[in-house]
């Protein structure tokens, strides 16, 4: 029997996390006397920031390495997963890894009685608002925590790696046992707290396990694309019709590539207070994906289907509280915020502020304000003024 684990992660930001978890499973399973190997879904790379990607681990107790490889090693994706780990919960809204793939359900590969294991601060019911229905029973388990984001060459050492390993042992001990996870972490790092983090996650995950019944979950409205046969497209390589040029004022006024929208790359979306906007144009001008549509009143609507959540608009907007990045899971659709604002200005402000809540992401530089805001903790204005004065004197 073969156990298949997939780790669904955000490209670049969680690249090393995905690879480490895959490699850890191989080493732990090997210590348990099993045969295992791990690889990534090759076509995901070169990764883009935030694009949904996959890493795999394959484990077997009985098969030889050769037989395990024959079954799993020469394939690009898996047909079904015993455990599908999702290390950023905003991917439950769907994953569009690359052009031609379409937006796919996050639980597409979870097999009957298998487990979808999500790192999240949200509850089961909130996640199931977005996770599509399946035709059979499967399990949903949670590892409580924020998505661990780092960069191309680094991994954030916030114990997500250890906790996910503990959680995998909880949802399917046939892959790795919690004892083996603990002993591996202790041998490898000599640090007790890592083993303890895995054990704590193991216990918490056992408590969070819940069976999802057929019919529980969201209706899926994205079409899975069908690729053409070799007779069905023009000779001379893949010739993609250009996006016809088109522009008119208003929401969705610009023509865009319908074949690859990339909106599932984002874990945050910009919420705009149109009433505060000074019409400075910077968001529209700087957006790397041309997500902003100019409107006839001089404002800029944003198209969330194509926004990848890069934070650029929120960084560059000179007006405090005008563009704020908000957790993607607080939103149920990609409707035009400008239309909402135009239809009901007061209602829109109330809605926007509710969505924004009180958390704010701080950026290293905010153009036009002349104030340097350090990332991380909020710096009170008084202290900051002193700092600025001290710097001016120096």
């Amino acid at each position: 029997m073969i156990k298949r684990v997939e780790v669904q992660y955000r490209g670049i930001f969680q690249k090393n996390l995905g690879k480490f978890i895959g490699g850890d499973i191989v080493q732990i399973a090997s210590r348990m006397g099993k045969v295992a190997f791990s690889n990534g879904r090759y076509s995901d790379s070169p990764e883009r920031n935030g694009i949904p990607c996959k890493y795999f681990a394959f484990v077997s107790q009985e098969l030889s390495e050769e037989e395990l490889e024959a079954e799993c090693g020469a394939k690009l994706d898996i047909d079904e997963a015993d455990v599908s780990v999702v290390v950023d919960d905003t991917m439950v809204k769907g994953v569009e890894p690359w052009a031609w793939h379409g937006v796919r359900p996050v639980n597409e590969k979870v097999r009957e009685k298998g487990c979808l294991l999500v790192v999240s601060r949200h509850g089961h019911d909130q996640l199931l608002q977005f996770i599509p229905k399946k035709a059979f029973d499967y399990r949903l388990a949670l590892v409580e925590g924020e998505a661990s984001f780092a960069g191309m060459w680094v991994n954030k050492d916030d114990l997500t790696r250890e906790r996910v390993l503990g959680a995998i042992a909880a949802v399917d001990p046939g892959i790795i046992s919690i004892e083996a996870v603990e002993s591996y972490l202790l041998d490898r790092t000599k640090q007790q707290h890592r083993a303890e983090a895995a054990r704590a996650a193991y216990n918490a995950t056992l408590r969070s396990l819940r069976v999802v019944r057929p019919g529980e979950g969201a209706e899926w409205h994205h079409e899975i694309p069908r690729l053409p046969t070799w007779r069905e497209f023009e000779a001379g390589g893949v010739v993609v019709p250009a996006v016809p040029r088109g522009f008119k004022l208003g929401p969705r006024g610009q023509t865009r590539n319908e074949g690859f929208k990339r909106g599932t790359s984002k874990s945050h979306r910009p919420v705009i207070r149109f009433d505060l906007c000074t019409k400075c144009t910077l968001c529209w001008y700087d957006c790397p994906d041309e997500c902003f549509d100019p409107t006839d009143d001089g404002l800029f609507d944003v198209n969330y289907e194509v926004c990848v959540g890069c934070h650029r608009c929120a960084e560059i907007c000179p007006v405090p509280e005008c563009i704020v990045m908000v957790d993607e899971l607080r939103f149920g659709n990609d409707d035009s915020p400008w239309e909402h604002h135009t239809r009901d200005p007061q209602g829109y402000i109330k809605w926007a502020e509710e969505k924004k809540g009180t958390d704010r992401i701080h950026y290293a530089h905010v153009t036009g304000t002349g104030v340097e805001v350090r990332q991380g903790k909020f710096v009170p204005p008084k202290q900051d003024k002193g700092g600025a004065a001290a710097r001016a004197k120096a």
């Binding site: 690879k19 895959g22 490699g23 191989v26 080493q27 090997s30 295992a36 190997f37 791990s38 690889n39 990534g40 090759y42 076509s43 790379s45 070169p46 390495e65 050769e66 037989e67 490889e69 024959a70 079954e71 090693g73 020469a74 394939k75 690009l76 690729l227 053409p228 046969t229 070799w230 007779r231 390589g237 893949v238």
Partner: protein
């Protein structure tokens, strides 16, 4: 015959490595002097791993990031001419871009080792495996072999240097490895000890041709019609000699590290009494061997040849093994459009190799797995079935079958 006990102290601990990292570790163990790098995936991960190994102080080597593949290959060619053990590599179109430098490295009889992380040739831009990049070397006076596991890749860097630097050979060596399935798959790999590697791989000695202030020589001056034929004949002799020396190199390896390679040129899997044999290169060995097992359980006499060395081509050995079969199916993860029967590249060499036999097996050809397309166990079973038909004389006019194509 050495006993198992004698081999226990030649292996250090197992390590989790992907194919690229396994090659990088072998480059460290081979104490390579000069590494030239230029990124293109899937090769890139080798240079990533090597730069880390050097930064960690585990290897003292010149690491030169070139401005292109062409410069990268020229750098290692020149490094080899001063007697440095040198390493470079590339993939797909990057490999093709450096081709002028690759050709002269062979005609100059210099012997760096290159990793080819097999990748489809553009256009369209694609990253998956196809063997045309490495196979383009087949007529250029190179040593060319395929690894089919990360372990084999590690070992063939050592075997490759030993062979390429042999004073009777002195040819550049290309080690090919399927992109994705081998380069990017993490496995537990057995690491040889440095002492054992030092025993197996002597220091590189270019002898009188070494360019050095103490030995001032000029390499490859312009010559005309009155020289080239004789130079080519020397290359021809070297390639012939390499074929004879390969078994000696593997014997040394097996003596030191344990009986790892029964046949130096190719792995024979259940071929002894096989009526039908498939032949392939690289990662397709994984599903093909399992297909053999399953068909054997049904009583069908099938076998698989995992061809390791393509240059020099193991003519005699392959003729002996395949000559016993009634049908041979050659799996090409490459294309040779417009070639005889419009087959792949490998099938033509295999068919030529079998032609002198009085009683020849029927040869049929499969093109599959292009651009990294999966080849499954079921695909392999289907290829066996078609080859059985060919052996029974039921072959259609079309001698080539495309596997896994969206028809």
């Amino acid at each position: 015959m050495a006993t198992v006990a004698e081999h226990t102290n030649v292996w250090a601990k197992d390590a989790l490595l992907n194919g690229c990292q396994a090659v990088a570790q072998a480059v460290r163990l081979a104490n390579v002097d000069v590494i030239a790098a230029y990124p293109i995936r899937p090769y890139t991960e080798v240079m990533d791993a090597l730069s880390k190994i050097i930064a960690d102080g585990e290897l003292d080597s010149e690491f030169i990031v070139a401005d292109s593949e062409h410069s990268q290959f020229e750098i290692v060619k020149h490094a080899s001419s001063v007697g440095a053990r040198a390493f470079a590599g590339s993939s797909g179109t990057g490999w093709m871009y450096g081709f002028e430098a690759l050709v002269v490295t062979a005609t100059d009889r210099l012997c760096p080792l290159f990793l080819v992380g097999n990748r489809a040739l553009d256009d369209p831009g694609a990253f998956g495996v196809e063997h045309n990049d490495a196979l383009a070397l087949r007529d250029m006076g190179w040593l060319l072999c395929w690894a089919s596991t990360a372990q084999e890749a590690l070992e063939h860097v050592l075997i490759g240097y030993r062979l390429a630097e042999d004073s009777r050979v002195l040819m550049p060596m290309a080690l090919a490895m399927d992109g994705a399935f081998l380069t990017h798959s993490q496995h537990m790999v057995k690491m040889p000890t440095q002492e054992a590697v030092n025993k197996f791989l002597p220091p590189f000695n270019l002898g009188k041709r070494r360019m050095h202030p103490d030995n001032p020589v000029s390499i490859a001056p312009q010559v005309n019609e009155d020289w080239v034929m004789e130079l080519r004949r020397q290359n021809w002799e070297a390639a012939r000699r390499a074929r004879q020396i390969i078994p000696d190199v593997y014997k040394s390896f097996n003596d030191l590290f344990g009986p790892r390679y029964a046949n130096p040129f190719f792995d024979e899997f259940m071929c002894e009494d096989a009526e039908v044999v498939l032949v392939g290169l690289g990662a397709v060995a994984m599903p093909a061997r399992t297909a053999v097992r399953r068909l054997r359980e049904q009583g069908k006499k099938v076998g698989y040849v995992n061809l390791r060395w393509f240059r020099p081509f193991p003519t005699e050995q392959l003729r002996a093994t395949l000559g016993r079969a009634k049908g041979v199916g050659v799996i090409d993860r490459d294309f040779a459009h417009g070639s005889p029967d419009n087959g792949g590249i490998v099938v033509h060499d295999v068919r030529s190799c079998l032609y002198p036999l009085a009683k020849r097996p029927a040869v049929t050809n499969f093109i599959g797995g292009l651009g990294g397309r999966d080849m499954s166990i079921d695909d392999c079973i289907r290829m066996f079935e078609i080859t059985f038909d060919a052996a029974a004389g039921k072959q259609s006019d079309d001698l080539v079958t495309w596997i896994g194509l969206r028809e």
